[in-house]
């Protein structure tokens, strides 16, 4: 059922804006590994994420290739890349219930959708939360739903955009353990963008600096 984990290759990637080189990266991320990209704001972190996820504005020119195993991704539209995203805000769709949010992420032909959602919520201590309005959840609960929504969509790689920066300190460590644990267990190559040293330390993978 679950596809075999693959390596994410960022090959000779170079992004330029009006002839100016913004960033250049040549890296690969193994299954279950977290590559941390650090840099101050304005160093092109969000541009990198936009390129990988497939949302790069046409104002930028990108060179290089993006592969997942043998599959070339950079020529595909965002929805066919199988790259999941976690932002610093949980971004739970406010017009859907907790279960509705999870269901939106599930691939079309998944069997036993309801059971899978129930199990996923139980896994993060949110049993019985299916019908809840996301707006009534605490920040930590929302973050956990967002994580499970991401995992249920069965991505083959994950991008984390400062996912812990808006949580309070006590919660932050707990979420780091949960997120990295889950991603490692699923064997997903992960790219983390942050400016928090502690995030990088918790991720435990290679670190590159931008800017």
């Amino acid at each position: 059922m679950t596809p075999i984990p693959q390596i994410l290759h960022i090959k000779q990637m170079k992004i330029t804006l009006e002839g100016q080189t913004l960033l250049a990266i040549n890296q690969h991320i193994a299954p279950g590994e977290v590559l941390t990209v650090m840099g101050p704001s304005g160093s092109g972190k969000s541009t990198l994420l936009a390129y990988l996820a497939g949302f790069l504005s046409p104002a930028f020119q990108a060179q290089g290739e993006l592969y997942l195993g043998d599959k070339r991704l950079d020529t595909l539209p965002a929805e066919q890349r199988g790259i999941g995203l976690l932002f610093q805000d949980p971004m739970l769709f406010p017009h859907l219930s907790v279960a509705g949010n999870c269901r939106f992420g599930l691939p079309r032909r998944t069997q036993n959708k309801t059971e899978r959602i129930t199990k996923a919520l139980e896994q993060v201590g949110l049993a019985g939360f299916e019908a809840r309005d996301p707006a009534t959840l605490s920040g930590g609960q929302q973050a956990r739903v967002a994580l499970m929504r991401l995992l249920l969509s069965q991505p083959q790689a994950v991008l984390l955009d400062e996912p812990f920066s808006k949580l309070d300190t006590a919660l932050r460590q707990e979420m780091r353990t949960l997120v990295f644990g889950q991603l490692r267990e699923a064997g997903l190559p992960t790219l983390l963008v942050t400016h928090d040293e502690a995030d990088a330390a918790a991720a435990g993978g290679p670190i590159i600096a931008l800017g």
């Binding site: 929805e79 971004m91 769709f93 406010p94 969509s153």
Partner: protein, 537 residues
């Protein structure tokens, strides 16, 4: 298309040579000069007054309870059709109107309606007052929308920390940045005010009427050769409007030059109290007048026997409603079917445009001018061209043609009211949806559209209100054979049965109101269990 008949070319009517007869006939009209001056000055003066009131109010606005209340009361006024406001105002200020009744005989000593020409006065003062009532809410809402991107609080706070009084701080630090953003709406107001037809028919002078009203009279004249003159008049109207716009533009330049010194002369306090008081007083008066106008309509529509100086009718009756309702079924159906089809088509076009722009990261280019074009060119001028064009290719006046004409005005308003919300929606919503594997169409239908439901419905209500209020496009492209509530109401203006007019005008005002109520209510019902969606609406 309007140029050809103006110079004598209109094969349908046997005019197949170019000549200047129409212009000679036009210049020979008695009172033409006066008509031109009326249109020119009423347009400029009303715009100036309306802008003055709005700017003063915004400068005085301290975010107090009173200010917020006035703001909230003003917005629904925008939805009331021009004709309804005009009738309400007429009933308010007429010699036998509400104001005279409330003040008599106590203040005025009148035992019978005085023989004064207040409505339809030769100087067009009543017309200007009516236009101001409609333009103030329009300019205010446009300014509030533009202010959202200027961070006025920061600018004012900074200036206040340098010792400027709040209202002076606003005028010196916010207004110079605001004006360029509301320039197009201001031009639209000038164009509208110089060429308005329905309000001028109700409130404007009669001998001679404004230029636009004269043109319509000639156009509808049974003597078809008058059409050549009407076409020449439409071209002249375009010239008058352009002249007014040019005058305004020159005024802008002059004010900009002269105010350079004032902006930096360091004066911090002088006049601030007057501005603060004047701003609130003027806008409250406008709001109050408009509200009383509506109340007056309601009162007249159910009034039975009503002796002159009495403040209230002696008896109340539903006769007028019962008498008129059966005969307005067709106009009502026409109004709604035209309004709803125009709104649906416009919503489809606008959402498709915005979605396309969002998907391809297109910047908000300067399509604005193009969109505003139907609002800045006087209706009389280009609708004439449309009629002539439709006739020359053999399309007869009909529903579809009216809908098409309404679209010209509905699309810009719908675009203006929706585009800001569309652009402001966090792009990450759709990015999350796509990264979860949803194809773009699903992200659009299941995420973007539901999230934008409230602004979309409001925009649709605006466009429905715009369509309901259209008089000239309905009249001209329907060939007078597609009656709507608005055309019926305006047609009764000369008839003078106040109670029946009141019923029609109220109906006309009621329809947009229902639209806006639904636009508010539906999101609340749909999202009853979703806290954040209610907050966002």
């Amino acid at each position: 298309m309007v140029l050809l008949p103006a110079f004598g070319y209109l094969p349908v009517l046997g005019g197949d040579t170019f000549h200047l007869e129409a212009w000679q006939a036009l210049w020979a009209r008695a009172g033409l000069h006066r008509s031109i001056l009326l249109s020119y000055f009423s347009g400029l003066i009303t715009t100036l007054v309306a802008l003055f009131i709005v700017v003063l109010f915004l400068a005085a606005n301290q975010g107090t309870w009173l200010d917020r209340t006035i703001r909230r009361l003003v917005s629904p006024l925008l939805a009331i059709p021009h004709a309804a406001v005009a009738f309400g105002l007429a009933f308010l200020i007429a010699p036998s109107g509400l104001l005279a009744r409330w003040l008599s005989p106590g203040v005025t000593g009148w035992e019978r309606p005085p023989d004064l020409l207040i409505v339809n006065d030769p100087l067009g003062l009543a017309l200007m007052a009516g236009l101001v009532l409609k333009e103030v809410p329009f300019l205010l809402l446009m300014s509030l929308a533009a202010l959202a991107q200027l961070h006025p609080e920061r600018r004012v706070t900074l200036a206040r920390s340098l010792g400027y009084a709040p209202s002076i701080a606003w005028l010196k630090c916010v207004f110079p940045a605001l004006y360029p953003l509301i320039r197009l709406p201001v031009y639209a107001v000038i164009a509208y005010a110089t060429s308005v037809v329905d309000m001028a028919l109700i409130l404007g002078p009669t001998l001679p009427p404004t230029l636009s009203v004269s043109i319509i009279t000639w156009f509808n004249d049974p003597d078809l050769s008058r059409r050549f003159m009407a076409s020449a008049g439409a071209v002249l109207q375009l010239g008058v409007t352009l002249a007014a716009l040019l005058t305004w533009w020159l005024g802008e330049q002059a004010v900009q030059r002269l105010s350079q010194r004032w902006l930096v002369n360091g004066s911090r306090l002088s006049g601030s109290a007057a501005i603060a008081f004047g701003g609130r007083a003027l806008l409250s008066t406008v709001t109050l007048l408009a509200m009383s106008a509506l109340a007056g309509l309601a009162l007249f529509s159910v009034a039975g026997f009503w002796r002159f100086p009495d403040a209230l009718p002696g008896t109340f009756t539903l006769d007028h409603w019962q008498r008129i309702l059966p005969s307005v079924t067709t106009p009502l159906i026409n109004t709604l079917s035209i309004g709803l089809s125009a709104t649906l088509i416009a919503a489809f076009l606008v959402v498709a445009t915005l979605e396309h722009a969002a998907r391809h990261h297109l910047p908000a280019r300067r399509v604005q001018w193009l969109l505003y074009l139907p609002l800045i060119v006087p209706q009389v001028a280009f609708l004439f061209g449309l009629v002539v064009a439709a006739e020359s290719v053999g399309i007869r006046p009909q529903h579809a043609l009216v809908v098409a004409a309404h679209l010209l005005f509905v699309v810009p308003y719908l675009y203006l009211s929706l585009s800001e919300a569309y652009r402001r929606l966090d792009p990450r919503w759709v990015q999350v949806a796509l990264s979860l594997g949803a194809p773009p169409w699903r992200a659009f239908w299941q995420i973007r559209l539901p999230l934008l439901l409230a602004p979309l419905l409001t925009a649709c209500a605006v466009s429905l209100a715009v369509s309901i209020g259209q008089y000239l496009p309905t009249l001209l492209l329907g060939g007078g054979r597609v009656p709507t509530i608005t055309t019926e109401a305006v047609a009764m203006a000369s008839g003078g049965n106040r109670r029946l007019i009141a019923v029609l005008a109220l109906l006309q005002a009621l329809l947009p109101f229902i639209g806006f109520s639904l636009a508010l209510l539906i999101p609340r019902l749909v999202w009853a269990k979703r806290r954040q969606m209610r907050g966002a609406a």
